[in-house]
């Protein structure tokens, strides 16, 4: 078992977990989920489960410490006749220290597992400038599964307790399950304590409606992952690994297909995660909302990996842009540059932190940092240009809400997304720049139509006409579903109202599609969920 897509997980682990959960008494169901979660974690990461336990105990203990300070503060404020502000400030200082200690344990573990070599090379480089050479030999560790995801969840719990938006939890089981719930441990969604903790403990029964809707959503995700993403790997992998062998046309197609692959892989895994949650009666937050219909780069990030975006917004963007020094900057700049451009300085400083954080979160490679800064520049430039774009459109009498203008915006954003993903997937920044260069300077449309695309990769395992037809058909289906959702229609609710035979016909059609068209077996290399590496 390596992921949610392993046969043994789908055929044995999950059905057993659901069956035991369903027959367990309601008050014990949370424990079934916790045991299943730890078994899953142990299966994937063995003794590294200790890291998850340290994180769990750290946030549990820190949460209790913060809770005690909050109670002391409130009674001190209540008893005081004056000087309440000072009392609050005094306690805020103590609480900050306690919270920082908890965050340090969690993010320290993340740094040790994921960024040790990156930081060592930065330090080595800096010391090298002053003539000092350190031959640091650092161990290479595998990281615990999902550490980037659950660390953000752990951090959000501590900050929420500090802020008073959730109460410190005395129930260790609930804290443990919030952090370790197996459907979301691999790739998120990054949920908040207030969103999922109580639901996980509720022990909702497994209902027929939830079982149907949950497995249907899982099948939809399995389709995206196994029919499209895994099949496209046969084309994408060789193009990115051996890019010097291909012209700009093939590289451009590689970038487009990688974007499709990544979306199908990640959003497919999310469908599986949310579907599993649904079976247990747990509503996990959505991570995608038709991202390729976005009209701007900023809009794209409100529809793609939504829970990471909102995490960065709530815990980085607003705290930084509303910090005292930046607030002062905003006040001064507003007087000088007005209300549109004035806040842009503080906002840009905060956005820089957000996008640097976004890049670094994905990994310590230069291509990820570049990817983050690419969006930083585009989004700040978008804010700067916006008022001028409005005026130009008015002058030219172009309606910004017309279908033509929207299509132009969507097409422009798609180009931005594909170029971003090219750098993101490239094996290092140098490779990304070389591939981008080839795409722009050595673009050859002929190679896209003369059959060259079927020669990509080793003979027999590349993409053939049959593969391409299946991918195109499934992508067309996804497009139709996306358009329906974009109109605000909930497909799950619509389907729930169908007559029974129609519902089962849909279920079996999806099931058979995955079985027949899924890319598995000896002709395809198994592909682990892509976001699990981040």
């Amino acid at each position: 078992m390596t992921s949610y897509f392993s046969f043994i997980f789908l055929a044995a682990f999950l059905p057993t977990a659901v069956a035991v959960y369903a027959i367990a008494p309601r008050r014990a169901r949370w424990a079934v989920l916790l045991v299943a979660s730890y078994l899953f974690f142990f299966w994937l990461s063995r003794e590294l489960i200790l890291a998850l336990w340290v994180s769990t105990l750290a946030i549990y203990g820190t949460g209790l410490g913060l809770g005690a300070l909050i109670r002391q503060r409130d009674s001190a404020v209540k008893a005081a006749k004056s000087g309440k502000r000072e009392i609050r400030a005094r306690f805020a200082r103590k609480m900050k220290i306690v919270m920082a200690a908890g965050l340090l344990v969690n993010f320290g573990l993340l740094a040790a597992f994921k960024y040790l070599h990156f930081f060592a090379s930065v330090i080595d480089g800096a010391l090298g400038l002053v003539g000092i050479t350190l031959n640091t030999e650092l161990p290479v560790w595998a990281a615990p599964i999902g550490i980037s995801f659950y660390t953000l969840m752990a951090g959000s719990y501590l900050i929420d307790v500090y802020r008073g938006t959730v109460a410190a939890d005395r129930n260790l089981g609930r804290v443990a399950l919030f952090l370790g719930f197996f459907p979301q441990i691999m790739e998120g969604p990054i949920s908040r304590y207030g969103q999922t903790a109580d639901q996980l403990m509720a022990g909702h029964p497994v209902t027929r409606a939830n079982l149907y809707a949950g497995t249907l959503r899982m099948l939809w995700g399995l389709g995206k992952k196994m029919i499209v993403a895994d099949r496209l790997n046969a084309f994408v992998k060789p193009v990115f690994a051996d890019y010097t062998a291909y012209d700009g046309g093939i590289i451009a197609l590689g970038a487009v297909l990688y974007t499709v692959q990544l979306y199908c892989d990640f959003s497919g895994t999310m469908d599986v995660a949310l579907g599993m949650g649904r079976i247990f009666g747990v509503s996990l937050p959505e991570n995608f909302r038709q991202p390729f219909f976005s009209r701007t780069a900023a809009g794209f990030w409100q529809r793609w990996h939504i829970t990471l975006g909102t995490w960065l917004r709530d815990y980085i963007y607003y705290p930084v842009s509303l910090s005292k020094p930046l607030k002062k900057l905003t006040s001064k700049a507003r007087k000088r540059f007005g209300n549109r451009y004035g806040p842009l300085l503080a906002s840009s400083a905060a956005l820089f932190c957000v996008w640097f954080g976004n890049g670094l979160w994905h990994g310590a490679g230069s291509q990820y940092i570049f990817f983050g800064l690419y969006y930083f520049v585009l989004i700040v430039a978008g804010s700067l240009i916006e008022p001028t774009a409005v005026k130009v459109a008015e002058r030219l009498r172009i309606s910004r809400e017309s279908a033509g203008y929207r299509a132009f915006q969507i097409a422009r954003t798609l180009v931005i997304i594909v170029v971003g993903e090219l750098f993101f997937r490239a094996e290092g920044l140098d490779a990304g720049l070389a591939m981008f260069g080839a795409m722009v300077c050595d673009f050859n449309g002929a190679s896209l139509v003369d059959g060259s695309i079927f020669g990509v990769g080793a003979a027999g395992i590349g993409l053939d006409g049959h593969d391409l037809a299946i991918v195109l058909a499934w992508v067309a289906l996804m497009l139709v579903v996306g358009l329906i959702r974009e109109r605000g229609v909930s497909i799950t609710e619509r389907v729930a109202a169908w007559p029974l035979p129609a519902r089962w016909a849909l279920w079996y059609t999806l099931f058979l599609a995955v079985i027949i068209f899924g890319a598995y077996g000896t002709a395809y290399a198994p592909v682990d969920p892509m976001y699990a590496q981040f």
Partner: protein, 81 residues
């Protein structure tokens, strides 16, 4: 009532032409984007002599004029000694 009127004046200045009165989706519909919110916080802090911490910048408080008014009233009261 006077808090509400001041807030409406500030909003009109920051995003002229938008209909704020009955709207309960100012953030959801991006009438207030993150940039405008940074400016709005600065304006509200100046106008009411309060500090608006990042924790208050949530959809519930910023989606409507009523939400903003309730938040301002609460912070004014909280931050009185």
């Amino acid at each position: 009532m006077e808090e509400r009127e001041t807030i409406l004046e500030i909003l009109d200045e920051l995003a002229p032409g938008a209909d704020f009165e009955g709207c309960t989706t100012l953030v959801d519909d991006r009438v207030l984007d993150s940039l405008t919110i940074v400016a709005l916080v600065a304006e509200l802090e100046d106008a009411f002599d309060i500090t608006i911490p990042a924790v208050e910048v949530v959809v519930e408080n910023f989606n409507s004029v009523d939400g903003l008014t309730a938040m301002v009233k609460r912070l004014v009261e909280d931050q009185l000694d």
